[in-house]
């Protein structure tokens, strides 16, 4: 089964512009202090509940996405690239551990919130999104 959170991370990682901006720092848990310098641009994608599909073999998942940056301005640059990816994404294939997945959409469902992770001392932009992914790998 294709995991929606993994598909979301794979989708963001295969976008050249976003991946270049964050220098491949896109993960399910941030790695500040464990490989990521403080501060730097990065994205953390975490599953956050959301709706379920009762009848279709489609995974729908709400996502909490944190865009990190050296400042709020830099974090907003990351968010801006993320927003572009969301606008472009319609039926896009992604590579996951379970095989090739099909992302139907990745939509932002909230406006950005400026925030600072005091524990690690990095400015961030918090936003929520929703993804829909075919549950089974495509051939």
């Amino acid at each position: 089964m294709i995991i929606a959170q993994e598909a979301a991370i794979a989708l963001l990682k295969q976008d050249h512009g976003l991946n270049e901006l964050v220098e491949q720092r896109i993960a399910d848990k941030h790695r500040f202090g464990n490989g990521w310098s403080v501060p730097c641009k990065a994205i953390q994608v975490r599953a956050d509940g959301g709706p379920t599909e009762l009848y279709l073999e489609v995974q729908r998942q709400r996502l909490e996405i944190i865009c990190y940056g050296e400042s709020h301005y830099e974090a907003l640059r990351v968010f801006s690239e993320l927003q572009s990816v969301c606008r472009r994404t319609v039926k896009q294939e992604v590579s996951t551990w379970q095989g090739k997945g099909l992302v139907y959409w990745l939509n932002l469902v909230s406006a950005p919130s400026a925030w600072r992770d005091e524990e690690i001392g990095v400015d961030a932009i918090l936003v929520f999104a929703e993804i829909a992914v075919a549950e089974n790998p495509i051939s």
Binding site: L56, E57, V58, V90, K91, Q92, E93, L102, Y104, W105, A132, A134, E135, N136, P137, I138, S139
Partner: protein
């Protein structure tokens, strides 16, 4: 679930193109070019309606219907246009060629509000970059002849956005192949 069935779920909005009736239809994998004109951004859902209610016939020998016919069918495309350049606005009201320009100063464009008694006919394409149910390929609805119906009423407010609710009513085009007089759907498969 078969491997390629996920593609059968169609998602994503389409782009709307119009052209004079009789304009050659572009290949499904080619973005329409002049004289096809892309109307600007639309907001919300776009809908293709296959209206055409059946009439059922009964006789004295049966309690259920014995025959059904479709006396009328009325395909319709509806969408909400928010890119209100006068050319787009004019195309929906009647025709973009109604727009006139004046070098000024100040430079101006003007669109008469009167729509006239005979609406301008257009061909219309509703094209989605991944509208194919057979893969990540484009697809499009092609309607060779029709008119913009309805009574659009753009509303202006502080917290809203003026928009034209567009209703494209398809007309029969006898110059098309049999069965395609009211348009067709074409999608790329490979």
């Amino acid at each position: 679930m078969a491997g390629n069935e996920p593609y059968g779920h169609l998602v994503g909005p389409c782009k709307v193109y119009i052209a004079p009736v009789g304009t050659a239809v572009p290949a499904v994998n080619a973005v329409p070019t002049s004289p096809w004109t892309e109307l600007g951004e639309t907001d919300g859902e776009q809908e293709v309606s296959h209206a055409g209610t059946l009439t059922f016939f009964y006789d004295n020998d049966h309690s259920g219907p014995v025959k059904a016919v479709r006396p009328q069918e009325d395909p319709e495309v509806t969408f909400t246009l928010v890119n209100l350049t006068l050319e787009n606005y004019g195309a929906i009201l009647d025709t973009a060629s109604d727009v006139t320009s004046d070098a000024g100063p100040p430079a101006t464009k003007k669109l008469p509000v009167k729509r006239g008694s005979v609406p301008t006919e257009y061909a219309l394409i509703l094209r989605g970059s991944v509208l194919s149910p057979y893969g990540a390929y484009p697809g499009m609805y092609v309607f060779p002849r029709g008119v913009f119906d309805g009574e659009p009423a753009p509303t202006f407010s502080k917290d809203g956005r003026a928009a034209l609710e567009c209703s494209f009513r398809v007309l029969e085009d006898d110059n098309q192949a049999a069965g395609e007089e009211l348009g067709w759907i074409i999608v790329q498969t490979a």
